[in-house]
Structure formats: structure tokens, C-alpha cells
Amino acid sequence: MAFQAYGGEGWLLTKLEQLINWGRKRSPWPLPYGTACCGIEMMAALASGYDLARFGAERPSFSPRQADVLIQAGTITKKMVPIFKRIYDQMAEPKWVISMGACACSGGVFRTYSTLQGIDLVVPVDVYVPGCPPRPEGLIYALIKIMEKIEKDHPLRKKAAEIGIGG
């Protein structure tokens, strides 16, 4: 994106898609979904020490309808699956999912009757963060990966394909 602001009024030359991506990339509002010990690490990442807000995750949104990135930090039990799925469904498009920790990625140490063996069984996952628990740096890295992914996105082309014009 070429952005030049000379004195006076200035001008901006870009593609609409890039502008949209730029906006999305710089404000991925997270929906913190901490269900177990990984949640503590996520809180650390959100708090002042690591400060996820530096990357635009400024406002942890506790309403799924106003969130962009679902951070699943912790175990999902089978009892909770429908609720988790519902929260994902309530998020408005576009949306991304970070699966944080061994539990969310694969069930982790809980290979039992009560634990979902990986959240990718119910929702699509964009970035997996390994670790038990991952360090806050891991979560920050995942968020940056999401940003890279957003950057490569073609929102208008996708929309056009959806309504069946152009390509």
C-alpha cells in the first residue's frame, strides 16, 4: 500500500482489498475463551507484561458478535462442545481461530471419555500453538501468524465469488 501524506491534503493510492486487509490486520479483536490452565497464560499475554494490545488486539471482546479471533486456550470437554460451537457460530465473518495449547490442539494429556480430542473436530482452526501451556510469546507469535494470513486474504474476491460475479 502506497501511502504518502504530503503537507496539505495528501493522497492515498491503494487497492480496496489492501485497505480492507490493512484495517482487519491491525485490529484483530480477540475473544478470549480460556477454559483451563492455558487461560492463565493467555491472561498474561493480554496483561501489561506482554501486552497483546501492541498488535492491535486492543480490546478482548467478551461478546462473540464483536470479535474477530477466537483464542481457545484450554481443554474443551465433550459436555461443552455444543456451547463452544455455538459461540463460534455467533461470531461474525470474517473470523479466525487460534488453538492454544496441547489440549485445544489434540486433547493433550486428557485422552479420556470427557475431553474433546482437538477443537478442529468442531471448528476450523487457523493457527495451532503447541505447548502445555505455551508461553505468552507463543500466543503473540500465533497472532502475528494470523495477521500474515489476513494480509494474504482476498476479501472482495471472496465476496464476489459468493454472490456469483466476476472471479
Binding site: K78, K79, V81, P82, I83, R111, T112, Y113, S114
Partner: protein, 183 residues
């Protein structure tokens, strides 16, 4: 006077068996007298706090015990056969009591056979028994008579099994919770 004597004197005939391990006392009592026993312990001995109620499935433990016994017998043939009683009941329900005045603890056990899984609820004595009893029902299928709301506590309502029974596989039998909701 020790705690054991106190309990013995209070319960009399109702105390079937004592076990003392690492300074912790447990007493086995008849299953259908549990409310009576706990009332006595609460009112006479000051055990006014119920810390927990839980179930135990002893089936694997008894199997291993029997195997070990059989092995021993093979080694020393000449020993006399021990009389074979009926197999011990499969389940146990344990009540952990604490006296807030004397800071003493006592475990009260009842044995629950597999074909009669009904135990009297003690929610009439302690409200604290509500959730532990529900959990015991959830995990072992032991029903508590007189409980006002005996639903599953941890697993979802439609869950078809009792997962802490020893014959239930750790990884489950493929149960999934399916919940329909209207869009």
C-alpha cells in the same frame, strides 16, 4: 479414650468393622442404617461437617486379590482351603466426616452390592451432601433415595454410562454430546 472407642460406644452393634491406617480411622456400617449412623455421629460425637461423599468400585481390586490368593495357594498346596464366602459387594460409598470442635476425622463406609444400588440420601442431615451424591450417581450409578434432585452432575444428561466404573474404558465408548438449538 481414643476415637475408636468413642465410635464403638456410640454405634454399638452398628459398627461392623474398623480399619486404622496411618492414623486415619474408618468404620464400616450396614448400608440401610447409614442415616441413623451419621445422625448419631453428628449429634453425639460432634462430627458436624461432611467433607465428601464418594463411591468406590472394588471389582478390579477384588479380582486381583483373588488372583494373588490363588497363586499363593499353588505354592503351598498342603495348606488348608480357606472357606469361600460370597463375593464381597462391588461398590462402596464412603462418607468423610470432620469434627470442627475436636478437629478429628472419620471415614464411614457402606458396602453396596451391584444388584441393589439404592442408598438412603443424607441430604436431610447435611445440605453439603447434595452435589457429592449427584456426582456419585453420575460416576457409579448408585442412586440415593430421598435426594431432591438426583441428576447427573458432571456428564451431560443423556450420557449413557457411568464412567468411573472399572469396566468402562478410559477413552470412552464414543459418546458425543449432540445438542440441537434453533437458529
Amino acid at each position: 479414650m481414643g476415637l475408636k472407642e468413642d465410635v464403638q460406644n456410640t454405634l454399638g452393634e452398628l459398627a461392623l468393622d474398623f480399619l486404622e491406617c496411618q492414623g486415619d480411622l474408618s468404620v464400616t456400617v450396614p448400608k440401610d442404617k447409614i442415616v441413623e449412623v451419621l445422625t448419631k455421629l453428628r449429634d453425639n460425637l460432634g462430627f458436624n461437617f461432611l467433607s465428601d461423599v464418594f463411591g468406590v468400585d472394588n471389582s478390579v481390586f477384588y479380582e486381583k486379590l483373588a488372583k494373588a490368593k490363588a497363586k499363593k495357594k499353588k505354592g503351598e498346596e498342603d495348606k488348608e482351603e480357606e472357606p469361600q464366602g460370597p463375593p464381597p459387594p462391588r461398590f462402596e460409598v464412603v462418607y468423610l466426616l470432620l469434627s470442627l470442635e475436636t478437629n478429628k476425622r472419620l471415614a464411614v463406609k457402606i458396602q453396596v452390592p451391584e444388584d441393589d444400588l439404592v442408598v438412603d440420601s443424607v441430604t436431610c442431615l447435611w445440605k453439603a451432601a447434595d452435589w457429592p451424591e449427584r456426582e456419585t450417581f453420575d460416576m457409579f450409578g448408585i442412586r440415593f433415595k430421598g435426594h431432591h434432585n438426583l441428576k447427573r452432575l458432571l456428564m451431560w444428561d443423556e450420557f449413557p454410562a457411568h464412567p468411573l466404573r472399572k469396566d468402562y474404558p478410559l477413552e470412552g465408548q464414543g459418546e458425543e454430546r449432540i445438542l440441537e438449538y434453533n437458529d
